[in-house]
């Protein structure tokens, strides 16, 4: 009886002391402004026990102020066969800091991670949530993980969302004294406190009282301006594979060592390589022939297993199954090239349409994809080995214009993938149409898309069946009521930059508004801008345009007899640092002739120029939506 009393008393006091420190009333007002959640306390300790073993302890205490931040009451943690979760302790407190509920690791749900591009993988996650409808409330999550083999050290991003303010956040890295810890702080001048005791070196970063940020439209990602610490390992040891990550060269050497001996081709494939290439003279052509062989005979299946998804399936596996993930297919391609006496290299890269700043002088792993690079005498060929549809040497906007890490025989270096310029990325459209007296428009459209402008069309025609293409075409255009009566696509891959020709026939019911004596018609049939922007006088952040291209439309519309012009849009010519736009409209006795040209430049512009951006795009919007008014002759 006595024992029981003591135990429960202890529990009560512990509970009470933990609780008191997180009463919502203690939050200063400055941290509540614009905030849906206050990060009361965040602590993470990444302790490197040895190059192959680390222990990570973390604690997150959030006070949730409104239902918009309810997501913070859900705790999710991922793991794979290299990570074991030692414990998770989660507690829910009410506004006064009184404990309401708790859960542990065993109470959490467990799921496999299945995502796009992933068919089989080791990755799983655990998830648990609190539900509270009385605001504010506070959640407190603690976790300890153990990693056997690690290739990166966690970053520190104390303010991960604009909706949250930060009361206190701390990151500690502990490593053996002789272990080199590398780090780089972005967007902040915070430096670590470094102490050393019993052969352990401790690095500590702290931050206090960051207010929440008011939402600003079209601003860059938070990661571009909020404090962000990158930390990198030096020595690593994963399942007996030892290496170093201090420099890009070391990183590449380690990656290369994981793939050693995995490029052996079966005899029949070697013979095939010789049969295909021995008679070909130019190395460029040999590459093209082998790339074509790869494209025709293999395809992508996302099977990511083992060594953090870093070790490739060997070439023989791909030779038998004729499938693999990006590294397996790139590895196979390099092996094919090797057999033909050509040197090719895997390039580790971050694939994606969003462009991020790349920190060249800090070695870490921002990558998620692998392509292949073949440096030839005057020309370097880039090969996307997971695509069946790109011409040899062309990269789509998924991997073009960015840095990647080329893995050479004993090391490697950063390389930059090709940039496709304004003159490369073109869309030329010619429309010839006839308008009848009821307002129905019959259109014949011919469009030529080149380089980056053909990327979306390439996916559209190659990843959908003909039937599906028609279904999409019949509903994608901003037209009142219409039908697509014929369409066709032709790909021209004879040159380095791919071209797709599109031809299409449309019938648009009530395209023009025909009233008693007038016809209202917009001569811009298929290229009307949908971008309408609002002024923002306080904008602080840069404006960024990733893509550059030229779109040209030339339109001819035959009109019914007996009408004359009442009004037509004035010709426009705009030019500034964001681009160039011009239109020209002519109305003749029987036809309308319309010409539109838009050049979009890429670049990053200071936020104070946003007003000019708004003006430019709204002028384009208005011009694109202007109508010609025809009135019946008396």
């Amino acid at each position: 009886m006595k024992k029981f009393l003591l135990a429960s008393l202890c529990f009560w006091t512990v509970m009470n002391s933990r609780a008191q420190s997180f009463a919502a009333s203690q939050i200063p007002d400055s941290l509540k402004t614009n905030a849906d959640v206050v990060i009361r306390l965040e602590e993470k300790v990444f302790e490197i026990k040895s190059p192959g073993h680390a222990v990570i302890r973390e604690r997150h205490v959030y006070t949730i102020l409104s239902e918009k931040a309810d997501d913070y009451a859900t705790y999710k943690t991922t793991y794979d066969k290299f990570i074991s979760i030692n414990y998770v302790n989660a507690v829910l407190y009410d506004a006064s800091g009184r404990e309401l509920k708790r859960f542990k690791k065993k109470d959490m749900q467990d799921h496999p991670i299945e995502g796009e591009g992933s068919f089989v993988s080791d990755d799983r996650y655990k998830i648990g949530s609190f539900y509270c409808h009385t605001y504010p409330y506070t959640v407190d999550f603690e976790e300890e993980d153990e990693k056997n083999g690690f290739m990166h050290i966690d970053d520190w991003f104390p303010q991960p969302s604009i909706q949250g303010s930060v009361e206190y956040s701390k990151y500690t890295v502990i490593a053996p004294s002789d272990y080199g810890v590398r780090f780089k702080m972005l967007n902040s001048k915070i430096t670590p406190a470094i102490t050393e005791k019993s052969n352990k070196k401790t690095y500590t970063w702290e931050i206090r009282n960051l207010p929440a940020i008011e939402e600003i439209p079209f601003s860059p990602e938070l990661i571009c301006y909020a404090p962000y610490l990158m930390v990198g390992p030096t020595d690593i040891d994963v399942e007996g594979y030892k290496g170093n990550m201090s420099s890009w060269n070391d990183f590449a050497r380690f990656y290369g060592s994981l793939q050693k001996g995995r490029d052996m081709l079966p005899e029949e494939i070697r013979q095939k390589v010789h049969a295909l290439t021995d008679a070909v003279n130019l190395p460029q052509e040999k590459v093209a022939v082998l790339y074509d062989y790869l494209q025709k005979n293999t395809h992508y299946v996302g099977i990511q297993l083992g060594i953090g998804g870093w070790q490739t399936f060997d070439a023989a596996y791909v030779a038998h199954n004729k499938y693999g993930d990006c590294k397996a297919l790139s590895n196979f391609m390099v092996a094919l090239l090797k057999e033909a006496g050509i040197k090719g290299y895997p390039v580790i890269i971050r694939g994606g349409r969003d462009h991020r700043d790349f920190e060249k002088d800090f070695t870490n792993d921002p990558f998620n994809h692998i392509i292949c690079c073949v440096p030839l005498n005057k020309d370097t060929l880039w090969l996307e080995c997971t695509s069946q549809y790109l011409p040899a040497g062309y990269l789509s906007d998924f991997t073009s214009n960015r840095y990647g890490l080329m893995v050479e025989d004993n090391g490697g270096e950063l390389v930059h993938t090709p940039v496709y310029s304004l003159a490369d990325n073109t869309q030329f459209r010619s429309l010839s149409a006839r308008l009848d007296a009821e307002g129905t428009l019959s259109v014949v459209s011919n469009t030529s898309y080149k380089a980056a402008c053909q990327d979306p069309i390439n996916s559209f025609i190659n990843f959908r069946s003909k039937e599906d293409q028609l279904r999409v075409l019949k509903s994608k255009f901003d037209l009142p009521t219409y039908d697509v009566t014929a369409f066709d696509y032709q790909q021209d891959y004879s040159k380095r930059l791919p071209v797709i020709q599109e031809s299409m026939k449309l019938t648009v019911t009530n395209y023009a508004q025909v009233s008693g004596k007038r016809i209202f018609i917009n001569p811009d049939i298929l290229s009307r801008s949908s971008t309408k922007l609002l002024e923002d006088k306080n904008r602080q952040y840069d404006v960024e345009f990733d893509d550059e291209y030229i779109h040209v439309d030339s339109v001819q519309i035959l009109i019914p007899e007996g009408y004359q012009t009442e009004s037509k849009p004035a010709d426009i010519a705009l030019q500034n640092k964001f681009g160039r736009y011009s239109t020209h409209t002519e109305v003749g006795a029987d036809r309308i002739v319309y010409y539109r040209k838009l050049e979009q430049y890429s670049g990053r512009f200071p936020g104070k120029e946003y007003g000019d951006v708004v003006k430019f795009y709204n002028q384009i919007y208005n011009a694109d939506h202007s109508r010609i008014v025809l009135v019946r002759k008396n």
């Binding site: 539900y131 025709k296 069946s465 009521t481």
Partner: protein, 674 residues
């Protein structure tokens, strides 16, 4: 060792009559692929497809097992041709296998796969190797086996076959004759011993190219471990019923907008265990029943009705606090409903059964839709209100079978409460539902009250749901002669719900910023407001003032009187249609405008008034406009009297909306007085 001979039921005279009609069979065998098999030019199928299923053949039969019963054997054979590189995905096979956590599990055996390619007239074969078959945990009760085929190319043909053994004879595997790819031949055969009696349910197009039924004599040995070393053997023999269904040249299923669930149109057979009787003498176990018995069973289910029957006195003080000052039953129902809706989070809007006890749900402040609405029912009953749970299948889940009470087809629980002769249909799982409102996904035909005495239907047809919206615009000339105006729209329940949800995620400020962006320079808006956002029972109304300063910028001025309420494009985009149009509700939209003619201008041209109806009485579109010396009056009414339109009505419906779009895009033309 003992041996018992039992005579099975169902030995009919028919036994001696061989089925005499010729059976058409597909001459096809795993691994036997000839060069000529690659040529499908004589076959009829959609050439726009990425892959075609040449044959998909499934068989279910039974064998005696060592666990005192019978095991169901399902075998499948599939032959596929890849027509182009986009068809590779069809080869990504995922097979789910169930286990009950007590040692009984479905097992996959004899999994084989081979890809065949035609090279210079010769057929090469690549076999699926064991290392490339992956099995992982999927969820608590299921594992997933995944594999894809080796050496796939454009033009490859592949075969797969596997067997699944299962003791869960409630789940006789259903068969889909239709899916994402066209099928040349789809066949299912069941051979069912007379012990088991299944009801066969068909959905979708019920035409079969072949449909046969015959008796086959079968012999089974069942081993019963009696706890000693010597097992008991039971020998069973008799006529099993063998049924076979074949569909040829089945087109692919296609997703279309305005369908509740394309699954409703999939040609599919499924089976329900009706009853089980081991021998003529033994007891008959009935599984498939009527709604009275099904309700009784559900009410006695530990994961459903029993939760209401438990002593729920622990909630009595909270119920009392909530209802103490209530003067009527109706008031009590409203109070308790609001309490549950506002204090509990719904973690899943899927599922008929409650996994947690109501007490746990209460403590956790969260639960599935079933748990929350059972809690609501329990709290109402605690307050001495008559209330029953109601089960339904949501629109996205498909229509539940009309003939039998099949619990697995239901995925949602709501509550029906009564006060005198008034009834209230309640769903407390949606925090933005007003009292008596349901989200449109619940409107999918017949819902069922779970009450063993009165298992009645609650009709939740989309045709019974009307979504009414009224917009009013007044434009006058201000003291300086500029046109200024006010806009007010009162939304229907659905749109109110959507707007409440949007404002919950963002802010009112964002909403009006977006609206201003849509108007651009044409109008600038001010004095904005949204009413009744927090009065969930009432429709939301949006209002603002605007000025049209930029309108009067020339001698001839064009003005579209529909403002922001216009149908710019036809909502029925595609000119073709395969399935009926199922809208979530009947729409009823009224737009009224009164406008002063701008100072110094006269009306040069005004759209003509028009009135059209859709199929006489299915809908109406009225566009009435008139002017006098100083003012224009307009009234536009768009109303559909039903939510469901058969395929045959699609062209008319699309034409009707084409006309709506045409009229609503018309302009008023003002001319400056010289």
């Amino acid at each position: 060792m003992k041996s018992k001979k039992l005579i099975l039921l169902g030995v009919f005279a028919a036994l001696f009559q061989q089925a005499l009609f010729a059976q058409e069979k597909l001459d096809i065998q795993f691994g036997k692929v000839a060069a000529s098999d690659f040529d499908l030019s004589s076959q009829k199928f959609d050439s726009g497809s990425n892959a075609v299923i040449i044959a998909d053949i499934g068989k279910t039969s039974f064998e005696g097992n060592r666990k005192s019963g019978m095991t169901m054997i399902f075998t499948r054979f599939m032959r596929v041709k890849i027509l182009n590189k986009n068809g590779f995905d069809i080869a990504d096979n995922r097979i789910l296998l169930y286990h009950n956590g007590k040692g009984d599990e479905e097992k996959i055996t004899e999994l084989k796969g081979s890809t065949f390619n035609l090279e210079n007239g010769r057929v090469s074969e690549a076999k699926l190797d064991e290392k490339s078959v992956f099995t992982e945990r999927y969820d608590k009760h299921r594992d997933i086996t995944k594999f894809t085929l080796p050496d796939l190319r454009q033009g490859s043909v592949y075969d797969i076959t596997y067997t699944i053994k299962s003791d869960f004879f409630f789940n006789l595997r259903p068969w889909s004759f239709q899916g994402d790819y066209p099928r040349l031949w789809s066949e299912y055969e069941t051979t069912i011993p007379p012990v088991f009696h299944y009801a066969t349910l068909m959905q979708g197009d019920d035409h079969f190219d072949l449909k046969t039924s015959k008796d086959v004599y079968q012999h089974f040995t069942i081993i019963v471990n009696n706890g000693t070393e010597a097992d008991d053997f039971y020998e069973l023999s008799g006529d099993s019923r063998q049924q076979r269904w074949v569909k040829k040249n089945v087109p692919a299923l296609k997703e279309e907008p305005y369908t509740s669930s394309v699954d409703n149109y999939r040609a599919k057979l499924s089976f329900q265990l009706h009853y089980l009787q081991w021998t003529q003498e033994s007891e008959r176990h009935d599984y498939l029943t009527d709604w009275f018995k099904a309700s009784e069973k559900l009410m006695n289910d530990e994961d459903f009705g029993m939760k209401l029957n438990h002593d729920n006195a622990w909630m009595s003080s909270d119920v009392k606090i909530n209802t103490d000052d209530c003067k009527s039953d109706e008031e009590k129902i409203k109070k308790i409903y609001a309490f549950v809706r506002d204090n509990f989070s719904c973690t899943s809007h899927e599922g008929l059964y409650a996994q947690s006890s109501l007490k746990d749900v209460y403590k956790k402040k969260a639960g599935s839709v079933a748990e929350i609405n059972l809690l609501l029912t329990a709290m109402l009953r605690q307050a001495h209100i008559t209330a029953d749970p109601v089960i339904l299948s949501t629109r996205s889940n498909g229509v539940a079978n009309q003939s039998y009470p099949l619990m697995e087809e239901f995925n949602y629980v709501i509550c029906e409460a009564y006060s005198g002769d008034k009834k209230y249909t309640l769903d407390a799982s949606e925090p933005l539902n007003g009292f008596g409102h349901l989200v449109s996904d619940c409107y999918n035909g017949e819902a069922r009250i779970v009450n063993q005495e009165k298992p009645y239907i609650v009709n939740l047809s989309p045709d019974s749901l009307r979504e009414s919206k009224t917009s009013q615009v007044f434009i006058v000339n201000d003291e300086k002669g500029f046109p200024v105006g006010s806009f007010e729209t009162t939304l229907g329940n659905e749109e109110s719900y959507a707007l409440r949800e949007e404002i919950k995620r963002t802010t009112q400020k964002d909403y009006f910023k977006k609206l201003q962006a849509r108007y651009g320079a044409d109008a600038s808006i001010e004095n904005t407001g949204i009413d009744s956002l927090s009065h969930l029972e009432d429709p939301v109304s949006v209002h603002y003032d605007f000025d049209l300063k930029n309108l009067l910028s020339g001698d001839v001025v064009y003005f579209n009187p529909m403002m922001d309420e216009i149908y710019k494009n036809n909502p029925f985009k595609s000119s073709e249609r395969h399935y009926p149009v199922e809208m979530p509700y009947k729409m009823d939209e009224l737009y009224v405008l009164s406008m002063d003619i701008p100072k110094g201008y006269i009306v040069d041209e005004i759209p003509k008034s028009a009135k059209v109806s859709l199929n006489e009485s299915d809908g109406i579109f009225e566009y009435l406009i008139q002017k006098n010396e100083t003012n224009i009056q307009m009234r536009v009414h768009l109303k559909l009297n039903k939510a469901y339109f058969p395929v045959a009505d699609y062209p008319t419906l699309r034409d009707f909306f084409a006309y709506v779009v045409k009229k609503e895009n018309e302009q008023i033309v003002f001319k400056k007085i010289p």
